[in-house]
Symmetry: C2
Subunit: 462 residues, 2 copies
């Protein structure tokens, strides 16, 4: 039990708290990849599969149990992965993830183990490899590439919630085949395209001790630095418990299990995914939260895949900014879903909104009106005369763990410190959006509880 | 009821029987394609599928319920369809049939509807088309090409005895998909490769009024002259009730149903396939019998597919000659199964035996010692002094139906006619192999029962 060795100390004067540093080393720490993922803050998931070409509304429940009649409906005439990645980059995304397979089972590359792939179609004379195009574009534009592999559903092969249809010896044999096929795809994806930032198994990659593919050792062997998300053994980050693109506050990067929700623990699912949403500061495992939402998530839309004539589902700038504050600003990495259309392009409306959003984030946080001088022992910012601010941004050095457990922020108008807010988790980034701008003489952060010496990275006002 | 219009007359003097000719027109007659098939007498079935490359004994029951783990095991390094067809031709085959798909579901061509095909493998960089190679070779050597499509079993997609695994809505949807996929394959095969001599659905193509593909209209539309074998609607020939390469005597070309055994009529299966074996002279439908056997059918073998180290299964010349007499000589077309190996070649032992067999058939029937002069009204052959014979060959002009219903053959040594044998069906070819050679002055055929005027094509002694 690691927790009993942790000493929580009240910090009146921060530099007097040296005794707790040793204990802090017992805290879970992020891996290099997890740190990069949290520092990325924003990424995109690009979802592309056969149903896009049906030109009818994406119906997940039906699609899961209905094979696509003609695989050759897949024929984008203007597919341009550069356009995808430039769009993502314009929003500020630092990584992009492509659905290599989704629920049809159709693979967007030249698989030698899954015949239901780009080899099967007339597009590019059966030689298309959208995974390669995608990764080339990522590398060209400095975006970290990730791959999403859906194996839980496969409408072509008859797989439903990981289970091959049927109950006899034939089904058992096909299940074993499917397991090997999935492992083969993971091996191909891990060995053909260079370093991967992350590999994401849709709904998890099941339990390898049962019928699930033994994916983890393959990823570990060929992509030791790649984020693994996720199966019943391990999750390098966790789903934040909704598809709203937000997490509630506080949202700790630590979790009580090494897996997120692929191993079905009641406590994970309880209370509307409360544990996934909040994590727990006592968690033994570093597993930061992902916020995810489709860009087309407004006005009745929640579209991970493109549907025709639904540009009005693209979320507004203010929705996206609120999402940003409640995800990135809550110590969570935000993944926004992009939807290439039947031409093979991110639609124009989406492209515009992504740029507008990125521009707004960049301009909002371009230059703080004032910032803490890290050489100071006290976390105090003196505000230039006549300046006001509406956002407080705190960053903890999470490479040393999430040490800070509670804090207050105070403002001094003349001689008196008035509390603006009290908080708990800071993590990679904490953003406090004030209801209205404040002008004050000074702003002070008081760390009222910490596990070990608090390691603040930055404290700025915008 | 057609039968009640038929008049069976006893023929004492053949030319006195003119009254029955009109009624004979009520007899079922072969189509042009059926006539060609019966006149071909000998064909080959070339079976090739993924399990050949497993290099272990072909285990049908296991293979049917076990997907091939790695489709890329298919990599023949010396595949030569010319060699296949030359081997078949050396035996005297007039047509050849290739298993486009067998029980794995893997298709030996560039299918746009079945992803589990040559597109999926590295062989020839995914551009191989063995169906095309095969048909090109057939055309080059003047062999009529046929295609065999197995849809009853599909170990990859989970199809067992036509049924997609599972019992829920997903299975119903996949069954509908599979039906369309099979129809799509039939359409591709009927439109891409020029005229086909026959298309053979393994175990039938099921019942299109249920979940079976509606194959017949596709074949009728694109290959109106192609033999269709078979589904619950139609069979242009019938299985002869065993895989011994023989049919018992008599074996009529007429059958009581338009389908052979795809529509499961108890009367067809009764008494060890008696009806399939014998047909019935009263049958309303022309449906001649196929005898089939693998070339590797001796010494414990019955190998439709190649197994390593089993050259000793190749049937002996005398076995093959007996097979020939009891199939071709019993009014049945013989199809012999050939087994390309993992190199992609018919094995040497098989090549030698096929040529030896063909040479023996050709030399046996090169020149009759005497033959009936068709200008004679009486079926009498006068035998040159000092000649003996051991085979009597009768051929009826079956384009006019199987009119002859019983006959006797007599020999005259000096003045007296002695009965050598009594028979019923002649059909396309009747061969009587005598236990020992006979020398006589004359041989006479007496047609003792006929439906309409008997139409003898030839009557020769060898």
């Amino acid at each position: 039990m690691k927790l009993k060795f942790q000493v929580v100390c009240l910090l009146i004067f921060l530099n007097q708290c040296s005794t707790s540093i040793l204990q802090a080393q017992e805290l879970p720490l992020p891996s290099k990849a997890q740190l990069a993922w949290q520092r990325a803050e924003l990424g995109v998931l690009i979802s592309y599969d056969l149903p896009v070409f049906k030109l009818s509304r994406y119906d997940q429940a039906k699609n899961r149990i209905t094979p696509i009649e003609d695989v050759n409906i897949f024929h984008p005439d203007s597919l341009d992965t550069d356009q995808w990645i430039k769009s993502a980059k314009s929003a500020g995304a630092k990584f992009a993830v492509l659905t290599v397979t989704h629920e049809t089972g159709f693979a967007l590359y030249q698989s030698d183990v899954n015949p239901y792939c780009m080899k099967a179609i007339r597009y590019k004379d059966g030689k298309g490899d959208i995974v390669r195009d995608f990764i080339n574009s990522c590398n060209k534009y400095g975006i970290a590439p990730g791959l999403y592999v859906g194996i839980r559903w496969n409408s072509f092969l008859g797989v439903h919630d990981f289970k091959v249809q049927g109950n006899d010896e034939f089904a058992v044999n096909r299940q074993a085949y499917y397991k090997k096929m999935c492992e083969g795809m993971v091996r191909e994806l891990c060995t053909r395209y260079g370093p991967l930032f992350m590999i994401w198994f849709d709904g998890g990659a099941d339990d390898p001790s049962k019928s699930g593919p033994n994916a983890l050792p393959i990823v570990q062997q060929y992509q030791p630095e790649c984020l693994f998300y996720h199966n019943a053994q391990r999750a390098d980050f966790r789903w934040g418990g909704s598809e709203s693109g937000t997490v509630p506050y506080p949202c700790w990067s630590t979790f009580p299990f090494p897996f997120s929700h692929a191993a079905k623990q009641d406590s994970i699912f309880a209370d509307n995914f409360k544990l996934l949403k909040h994590g727990t500061p006592e968690g033994k495992y570093w597993m930061p939260a992902m916020s995810d939402a489709p860009l087309r998530g407004s006005n009745g839309g929640h579209d991970w895949f493109w549907n025709p004539n639904e540009d009005h589902h693209v979320s507004s700038l203010s929705t996206l900014m609120n999402m940003y504050y409640q995800s990135v600003g809550h110590n969570s990495t935000l993944i926004i879903g992009l939807t290439p259309d039947n031409r093979g392009l991110i639609p124009d409306a989406d492209v515009s909104r992504l740029k507008e959003w990125g521009d707004t984030i960049r301009s909002t946080f371009k230059q703080p009106i004032a910032t803490w001088n890290s050489k100071n022992d006290e976390f105090i910012i003196n505000i230039p005369e006549g300046k006001s601010f509406s956002k407080i941004v705190l960053k903890e050095n999470i490479a040393q763990g999430e040490r800070i457990r509670s804090f207050t922020i105070e403002a001094k108008e003349s001689t008196h410190w008035n509390t603006i807010m009290e908080g708990s988790c800071i993590g990679h980034t904490f953003i406090k959006v004030l209801e209205k701008p404040i002008s004050a003489k000074s702003i002070r952060l008081q760390i009222t509880q910490s596990n070990g010496k608090p390691m603040l990275d930055s404290f700025s006002l915008y």
